[in-house]
Each structure stands twice: as C-alpha cells, then as structure tokens.
Symmetry: C2
Subunit: 313 residues, 2 copies
C-alpha cells in the first residue's frame, strides 16, 4: 500500500461559465466539487493504475465532511484526522470562451498542537503498513515547519521510504532527513542553486540531503539526479491542456517505480508519460490512458554526464 499525506486538504470547486465578466454578477452554468490537494491527487492516479493506496491528512468542518464524502464516492480509502477548523476550498472559475481559468485559493484552517499530535498517532499506525509514503503540498498554519522532517523520520523507523513534493521552508526542513525522492519545481531549484540550470539545482539539493532529485526541465521533459547516475527523459512534443495535477501524476509514477524498484530510466519515462497524460485530462488527479500508453513508446531517455563540481578559485 502507498500512503499519501495531504496536510492542507481542500475541496476543489469548479465553476463553469460561458464568459467571466470581472466586477459584475456572473451566473454559473455548472458546479463540480471534489477532494483536492497534492497527496489526494497522487492517490487518485495510483488508484487508476490499480495500486492500493490510502489517503491521510487533516480535514474539518462542513467542507471537511464534503472532502470525506467525495473520497468515499470516488472509492479512495481514506483515514483523515478530524480537526476543529474548517477545511479550505479552492474555486476555479473556468471561462469557457477564453478557455482559461481564474483560481481563488482560500486560506486553510489553523491546526492545534493536540490535533497535530493526533495526526502523528494515526500516521504511525498507517505508515507501519505502507510500502512508501508520499508527503505532498503546503503545510497548514499551526503545523511545525519541520513537519515533513518529522514524518520522514517516523517512516524510516518502519523502513518505509518517503517521496517529498513541497517547496520553500517545508521542503528545506525535510531534506535533513534524507527523503528517497524529492520533486522540486523550477523556481525552487534556481533559488537553491542560484543557477537556471536544473541539473546544478538538483545537485545542490542532493548535497543538502535528498537521495534523488527529479525536476521538470520544461519542454525538455524531466531530469533525475540519483546516486546511480543522472538522466533526462524527453516527450516527443509538448502537449496543450491543464497543467494542474501534472506534477502529482509524476509523483505517483516515481513512487510506484520506487516501490517496484524499477531502473531509473524506466521510472523517469513513466513520470514524463503520466505527467503529459495528466495535462491531457481536464481535472487534477486524472490522466488520459490513451496518451499515457502512446507516450510510453515515444519518450527518449539519455544518460547525463555528472554535473561539474563548483570549485572556489
């Protein structure tokens, strides 16, 4: 079983409009709502790939109840810890005419020390029977800034490897506990390394503790920097569509490759293919299986030379 952790879960609401007229009254044509947050999206992808997965995290209030209900309806096994605060919503307003989206992100609830302690108790119980754990997304207010370090350490006590998808302080605090894989975004890489070269950024994050770093190289696909070598996987062409959830699909593929101990070039190919197949699907957590199968045949992987070590002259 692959455990996914979503500490700042959300109810993702989509409003479909003919045309969004800012600063006016807009009648919404259709409303859709489903449970969201990076970890939950990863579990959806894993489930669609036929893998056993459990969702955990924090949820509360009436919106938390809606998250519970939707996860159950989607057939996803979940064990969310109930909090007093109200789970946040995200509202995506889709302008059908322009084909683009305005997103409103509500702030999340504040987590108390008791609630965090309660979560750790549930987490220990779940991670003990997991093959791997995915820690993904932002930290809600009230959770310690080293939350991901704590969760990686507790997973290791059960010999369970952790995949970390976060940024900023939450990511950096997690590095000290040597996560098996991290998937930082391009902005994070350049902040850490002071360079726009993703390979240099990945090397800096490995030096800071990550066992393997997988990063998007934009239209050039993805790179993986590991203790077994570095690789780049390229898609045949760039796909148009909804980029939300593409990173979560890549994390699902990388975690599955980790559990199956697949060779890195295979893991990276799967990550690029699933990520592109997620771009081709309208909702985060979904992917287009036809695009996925086709791309698996068409992606090329090359081995990269080790990055030059920066020397101080």
């Amino acid at each position: 079983m692959i455990l996914t952790v979503t500490l700042n879960a959300a109810l993702d609401v989509t409003h479909h409009l003919d045309r969004l007229r800012p600063h006016e009254s807009n009648r919404v044509g259709a409303v859709a709502a489903r449970a969201g947050g990076k970890g939950i999206n990863v579990s959806r992808v894993l489930q669609a790939l036929g893998q056993e997965t459990v969702v955990t995290g924090l949820a509360g209030g009436l919106t938390g109840a809606a998250v519970h209900r939707e996860l159950t309806a989607a057939g996803l096994t979940h064990d969310l810890v109930t909090i007093d605060g109200e789970t946040r919503r995200t509202v995506a307003v889709v302008d059908e005419k322009l084909g683009d989206t305005t997103i409103l992100l509500e702030p999340g609830p504040v987590i108390t020390a008791d609630e965090w302690a309660g979560f750790l108790h549930t987490y220990d119980k779940l991670v003990a029977r997991a093959a791997a754990v995915v820690l993904a997304g932002s930290l809600p207010v009230g959770v310690p800034t080293n939350a991901y370090a704590v969760l990686i350490r507790r997973a290791r006590a059960h010999h369970v490897p952790a995949v970390l998808d976060a940024d900023g302080k939450a990511l950096r605090a997690g590095l000290s506990e040597a996560p098996a894989i991290i998937k930082p975004n391009a902005a994070e890489l350049s902040v850490v390394s002071g360079s726009s070269d993703p390979q240099a950024g990945a090397a800096a994050l490995r030096a800071a503790g990550a066992q393997a770093v997988v990063a998007s190289a934009g239209p050039d696909g993805m790179i993986a920097c590991t203790d077994q070598g570095s690789w780049r996987a390229r898609p045949p062409q760039r796909l148009a569509g909804n980029p939300t959830g593409a990173g979560d699909a890549a994390v699902a593929a990388l975690t599955l490759g980790l559990v199956q101990d697949a060779p890195w070039p295979v893991r990276l190919t799967e990550a690029v293919a699933l990520s592109a197949a997620a771009v081709a699907a309208p909702l985060a957590g979904d992917f287009d299986p036809t695009v996925h199968r086709r791309l698996l045949e068409e992606i090329t992987v090359e081995s990269l030379p080790a990055p030059k070590t920066q020397t101080t002259s």
Copy 2:
C-alpha cells in the same frame, strides 16, 4: 411575528482580495460566509429593529447545514424544510484596491414534488401564527411557477397579508392573488407598462392585482401607489456604498408598516431611510443605525396626483 420565505436560500461567501487578477491564481486574504437570500436578509433587518421574525424556506446538503448553523449563530429563529439537493452558494470576490466586487451565482438545487408538498405543510403551520408574510426572491427549479400565488392564497386563508418581492413570471403569477404590497424593480415596471415612468408601471401592476406597489425611483427615492393615494419620498442626497440588500431593507420597513397599520407616508419614509442605511452597511441584511436615524429627519414626502388613465381612442 413576521414570517419570511426564502425558497432559493444560499450561503453567501465573501472572498476579500487585495486585487483580483482574472485568469491567474489568487490567494484569498479572508473568507466570510453567511446565510443569504432575500427573505433571510429581510428577517435580519426586522430582528435588528426588535421585531419577532421566523425564517422559512428550503435548504439541503452540507451547504444547507451551513445555512442552518449560521442562522442559529445569528440568533434568527428558523424552520427551513430539508431537501435532498445541495443549497447553492454565491461567491462575492471583493477587490479591495478597486473597491468593487465580482459575483459568482451558483445554480440552485432541484426541488421534488414531495419536498414542495412538505414545505406547504410547514408553511401552513407557520403562517397561521404570523402577522404578515414576506415572499422574496427567485424560485428554485422544480417549484411550480405559480408558487407565490399558492402561498398568498394560503396566507389569506389565515387572514395574513403577503408582501411579494419577486420579478418575471414568479411576480406576475403572484399578482392574481392580490398581494398586499409588491416591490418590483425598475426593469420589471417598464416591461409591464411599456413606459419608463415608474408611476405608470405601478398603475399597471395594481390593475393586474397588487393592492399597493412600491417602486424605486432611482435617485428620486421611492414611490408608493395604493388605494389610498400615491406618494414619493426623497432622500436628501444619494448615498454611496453597497446596494445589495437595500431592497430587502425597504421590504422589511414596508412589512413592519403594514403590520403596524402606519400611514403610507410614514411607511415610505421608513422604507427610504432603511434602504439608504442598508447601502451604508457592508453586508446585505445589515444597516447603519446612525444613517437610519438621521435620514428619518431629512426625507421629504409629497403626495402625487393620480396617474392619467390610458384611454383607447
């Protein structure tokens, strides 16, 4: 007790943003949510005026539960009939920099025949002990188009007068049952009378069945056309602010005047003063008591000559 009916209740959610950037991701600074819909706003104003009031209508799902909870927290007595569908939300996105608002109106739930029958049962019980009933707002899908006619007739069976604040078909179907007061908007008046003169429009709606018609005359205040005469009440100046809820405050004043059998010039003065005091308050259902008291002194009322009868030559 004054009963208010909100058949298409809502949870009104407000997102406060520094600046709304359409077609981008926006982090919301603060979120507020409260029960909304015209009847509920009328009850809030009546409660603030020290009047006993009961809210009824239809609500369901988790959003319906949030409506229940907020009404209780606000100290409003409510007896909403539970439906299977999910109560709608409205999302008002307030751009603090521009000082204006983008509104997203979700479609409401579909009401079944059994749910409507259940509502009529509750309504009969409540209206029997009311001094007046306010029927306000749009009709949800599934409710008969003559819903307001049915409710006015049932109120009359208990000798309870009805105030109707609706438009389009819902208003026109209600006219046949001779509501005590209607408060159509300017657009409705001109559609009915084919004239931009509000007095001509009011006369046409009285001819169609309404006992009294009160209408906004824009910056010129409000007019009332009744079987006792016609009047216009003017505020000293136009107030800037939030016009949402101004009509609901006027309906609250008119209903209270009806119950107290106040002379029409007094009722109209109260309607203009409360309406302007509602414009000065940030949320629908609230009003600024200082503005209210000040305007009561400053509003002027004039008697209007009877409108010329249209004759066919």
